[in-house]
């Protein structure tokens, strides 16, 4: 798959349309409630699709391997990112930790787009990767908070009531993704048949509409983005490349096959902009949302969507050969 193949897919074209509209200062806008509704639909559909596949093909030892790899990556990837940002980008401890948590975690939409492009490319990944996606969302948050030594500062008066672990593991997107995955496994092919037209038939079309909005949001954030510097932008491109290559290599080493390894790379290279920012706003209010959302949403996400994914697929094909 070349970058050009990716760039002529409707999903990617709609993202570019949104970004261009925003750069040209068009007043095009998707209502927030609709965007949120679409994102809930996407997580539900991704969960069901994955669960249905696992129900169909059964769990395999490779699934356990891949999940362990995902958890490990999510826990460990924030460490090098943190030290890099401290040393090379001169970020303070809190901001570096917050950004690192985003890069250890994953982006659901990058995953969905990557899966589609892999399928289009004739290299589908295993269905259990939805479970890997789900388990990779949160460990990075724990590492990030430990790095910020959130504990040291003492509990302030606006600290979350249930404790941070609660906020982390019961984040809406984690619950919906895992819950739908389990429902898909429980209901199985037969039980899911009546709802397939929604979770499967509409998936790619609604992903286009959602990516139109992501294009608008990412470009507007880039334009507002006083928090970004040339240096942080460069890191927001460098980090996913390195992490993505690492993910692909790990997948290949574990014998997951080229499609699944590419998708593990896509996950490793992606950065969160739904689950992690919500927890960071709560846990590290002093960290600058303009910085972490700017890097993950306005730079890394578009990079992955257009160039990153084809690049990770390319690596997976070379390594797998």
């Amino acid at each position: 798959m070349t970058a050009l193949d990716a760039l002529t897919q409707p999903v990617v074209l709609f993202f570019l349309l949104g970004a261009l509209a925003a750069f040209a200062r068009s007043d095009l806008a998707v209502p927030e409630a609709v965007a949120k509704g679409l994102s809930l639909y996407l997580m539900m559909a991704i969960g069901l699709r994955g669960g249905a596949e696992v129900a169909h093909f059964g769990a395999s030892p490779q699934m356990g391997l891949a999940m362990a790899a995902g958890i490990g990556l999510s826990f460990l990837l924030p460490l090098p990112v943190f030290f890099l940002l401290r040393a090379a980008a001169r970020l303070d401890r809190t901001n570096a930790a917050a950004v690192a948590a985003h890069y250890g975690s994953v982006s659901v939409v990058t995953f969905a787009t990557g899966s589609e492009l892999l399928r289009q490319h004739g290299l589908p990944a295993a269905g259990y990767m939805v479970a890997v996606l789900a388990v990779m969302e949160t460990p990075a948050i724990i590492t990030g908070l430990a790095l910020a030594r959130a504990g040291r500062r003492g509990r302030d008066e606006l600290a979350p009531r249930g404790g941070l672990l609660h906020e982390t593991f019961l984040n809406g997107s984690v619950v919906l993704l895992l819950g739908s995955f389990l429902i898909g496994m429980l209901a199985g092919d037969h039980g899911l048949a009546p709802i397939r037209p929604v979770y499967d038939g509409l998936f790619r079309g609604l992903l286009c509409l959602f990516l139109l909005d992501m294009g608008l949001i990412a470009a507007r954030r880039l334009m507002d983005g006083r928090a970004l510097t040339a240096r942080t932008v460069a890191f927001a491109i460098l980090i996913p490349i390195v992490q993505g290559a690492l993910g692909v290599a790990l997948g290949t080493a574990l014998g997951l096959g080229p499609g699944t390894s590419a998708l593990l790379g896509i996950l490793a290279g992606s950065a969160s902009y739904i689950a992690v920012p919500a927890v960071m706003r709560l846990a590290l209010p002093v960290a600058d949302p303009g910085l972490y959302l700017g890097m993950s949403l306005a730079v890394t996400f578009p990079f992955n969507l257009t160039l990153g994914i084809p690049c990770y697929i390319w690596i997976a094909e070379r390594l797998g050969a």
Binding site: E32, A33, A35, K36, S39, D156, E157, L158, A159, P160, R161, I217, R220, D224, R226, A227, Y273, I274, A275, P277, A278, V279, M280, R281, L282, P285, V286, D288, P289, G290, L293
Partner: protein, 101 residues
């Protein structure tokens, strides 16, 4: 009509449950929440973003006695800067004073 204090706090959505608890602890247990769309302050612009909810803000409005308002403001003051809050106080008149603390 009796005089009461109108206290308004603009706060990030994720911090809202904690603010409600803090208010209750300061004796302010009745409130109304109003939505906000966007704004600009010392830390740049923001827009409501329901995607993660991370950058959305809400206006917390409480009508209360001067004493309770002072207690509330005092507890909130050290957090204003670190948590990017906007706190406003003004006078307001209400009927049925006892309902407002």
């Amino acid at each position: 009509m009796v005089e009461r204090r109108r206290v308004e706090v603009l706060i990030d959505e994720p911090l809202l449950p904690a603010l409600v608890e803090l208010a209750q602890a300061a004796g302010v247990s009745r409130y109304t929440l109003l939505p906000a769309l966007g704004g600009a302050g010392a830390y740049g612009r923001w827009r409501d973003d329901q995607l993660s909810g991370a950058t959305g803000k809400v206006m917390f409005l409480a009508i209360t006695t001067r004493a309770a308002a002072d207690a509330f403001v005092e507890r909130l003051e050290p957090l204003l800067d670190s948590h990017n809050l906007m706190l406003l106080s003004s006078d307001v008149e209400v009927v049925r004073g006892p309902r407002f603390g």
